[in-house]
Subunit: 405 residues, 2 copies
Amino acid sequence: MIKLIEGGVCAAKGYKANGVHCGIRKNHSKKDLAMIVSDVVSNAAAVYTTNLVKGAPITVTKQHISDGKAQAVICNSGNANTCNANGIEIAEEMSVLAAEALGISKDDIIIASTGVIGQKLDISPIKSGIGPLVEGLSYEGSHIASEAIMTTDTVPKEIAVEFTLGGKVCHMGGIAKGSGMIHPNMATMLVFITTDANISSAMLAKALSTDVQDTFNMTSVDGDTSTNDMVSIMANGLAGNDEITAEGEDFDIFMKALNTITIALCKMIAGDGEGATKLLECVVTGAEDKETAKTIAKSVICSSLLKSAMFGADANWGRVLCAIGYSGVDIDPSDISVSFRSSEGEIMVCKDGSGVDFSEEKAKQILLQNEIYILISAGSGKYSATAWGCDLTYDYVKINGDYRS
Amino acid sequence: MIKLIEGGVCAAKGYKANGVHCGIRKNHSKKDLAMIVSDVVSNAAAVYTTNLVKGAPITVTKQHISDGKAQAVICNSGNANTCNANGIEIAEEMSVLAAEALGISKDDIIIASTGVIGQKLDISPIKSGIGPLVEGLSYEGSHIASEAIMTTDTVPKEIAVEFTLGGKVCHMGGIAKGSGMIHPNMATMLVFITTDANISSAMLAKALSTDVQDTFNMTSVDGDTSTNDMVSIMANGLAGNDEITAEGEDFDIFMKALNTITIALCKMIAGDGEGATKLLECVVTGAEDKETAKTIAKSVICSSLLKSAMFGADANWGRVLCAIGYSGVDIDPSDISVSFRSSEGEIMVCKDGSGVDFSEEKAKQILLQNEIYILISAGSGKYSATAWGCDLTYDYVKINGDYRS
């Protein structure tokens, strides 16, 4: 049983968090520095962007986490610290500042940055902000930390669950920032997950890298894979369960808890995509293999034309067929059927590759809702996949037409 | 010497054209049926969309042109005749109507359709429109035909050139429709090219398929590869030059003439992308091989984030680096330099993978123009490539939010 609870990254035992405005951003009402700290050194794992142009914090975090251990996360918004000649130096300096303030090793710091690429990150606001940031750390600090990592996000993103391993109650929670440049391939955006479950570094890494294939890697806002994507997880073992060191029942329960956290965050990220008014969930069934199902789902969710049609609540299903056709999968178009579903009901618009008569009025009513399911039957195979995205709107263009100002 | 001339698809000897409103579209002021006819049977070639979901006209044209011959093009706008159970039947019926009205073989008809996918195409307006269409054919009819193939295009697209082969003056001209669902892979949108040069079917096919790799396949408006893309060329030989049957000087001149036509049409299509306010031309130099140069240019031109930044005249070059990084090429980011250029001058914004100080004011001035060059140096290699695209604007979303209405 996986039970939803409150508390975000502080839901698990022994995790404090905080967020402050330190001055990286000019707007004083916008927090720009966040921290999550475990009371004890934790097993840790992370997955990163596959973009060849990588933020300096990615490089530094990879080194720090190479021993499978971490104790704290420090993350700034407002500047990605990417494509800067002195980027690594600044990222290392951030780690040292955090480590000294916390009295822990700098090699146990996960560091992340998000914001504009290619503008030098000044260390001085971080230097002056680290004191108040550490001072204000609290076991109820998840929400304020989730606010401090936002860029163009309109809402903070938090989730937590409770589950049981070998009779011991465990907890897991996560916070995320998403919005733009979201088209992860391997990892994604910034997601920080904490748990008090006891699990080895190796199994933690396995759990995370398996999970992201079907969750964050199936989420797209705009087709742009960021330079700074990262999903990290810390497991401090304070729940007291027997350490998970191999596959088995406990690992399955852990994976299920993790999947509950990650899917919830994916939907929050897609639904709060830059300028988005709708969350799109594309569910493909009946495919001959898993890769085909995933490729179709992701191609549909990424089509600018379909995304625009969804913004306009226009049941232009031809664009779904078009996106399947150019996705690169080997499929007979006459096997494809398409329906749209929302809280207002479900309507079939295409059967066996050709249009069927349907009520435009009913379709409009369905598509005017803010959570739309695009249901695709790809044949009589037994594989399925889900991808998450959002509509393309005036506001996406507006936000990205002058992001740096 | 390739000289620009007037006349579009009627610039070459022996080609008539026309366009009428026959009633496929409800709006009476919008022409929806076009025809181009050669006085004599021509050698012909075409390249088509790689989308697995193909319009019925693509299937029918492939059959008709399989003998390397054609004499006429018929093309309707307002309905793509794609994903319709009776699509092939309707496309064949259109060919027969055109052939009978012209007194030629139906197997010499190139047929094309563009518009909404998945709505049955009624043959009756075409049946009643074919008479006036054929009656009005004229040696000055290129412009009216170029209007009749438009969908969301805001301007008709025509070009023609004059060149000399073996002492004989030859001509070549083309018309195109572009706008949305433009991300060709193999062929593209609808482009009809005519020439009076004498060239064998085999060499014509070779010329066309070689040329599109660096022209239409390097053009993108929105990343969506249409189901109905087609580029066709007819060569009726009326210029009287010795037939080109192999590579050599004449073939090179022919290729150069063709390339002048196709690049001009690519720029017209990209610059008139749905909602576009700017033509973007991305020029990559210094790559280690041709594929790397092409992949970088196309990835940059396709980035929604960069396209939005260009709309806002924001020199957000980090998005250029980001798009290069996720493009899949094997390149050292520290070898990359980026400049922006327009009629207002040129400015370097990134050198050796890191930002350089530049005047934001000057950059803004450069990016406020309507033809922007994004210049990327990828290292010290000797390969280069160019891709064409456009900015992403409110109007793209508006046009595609309710295209079917």
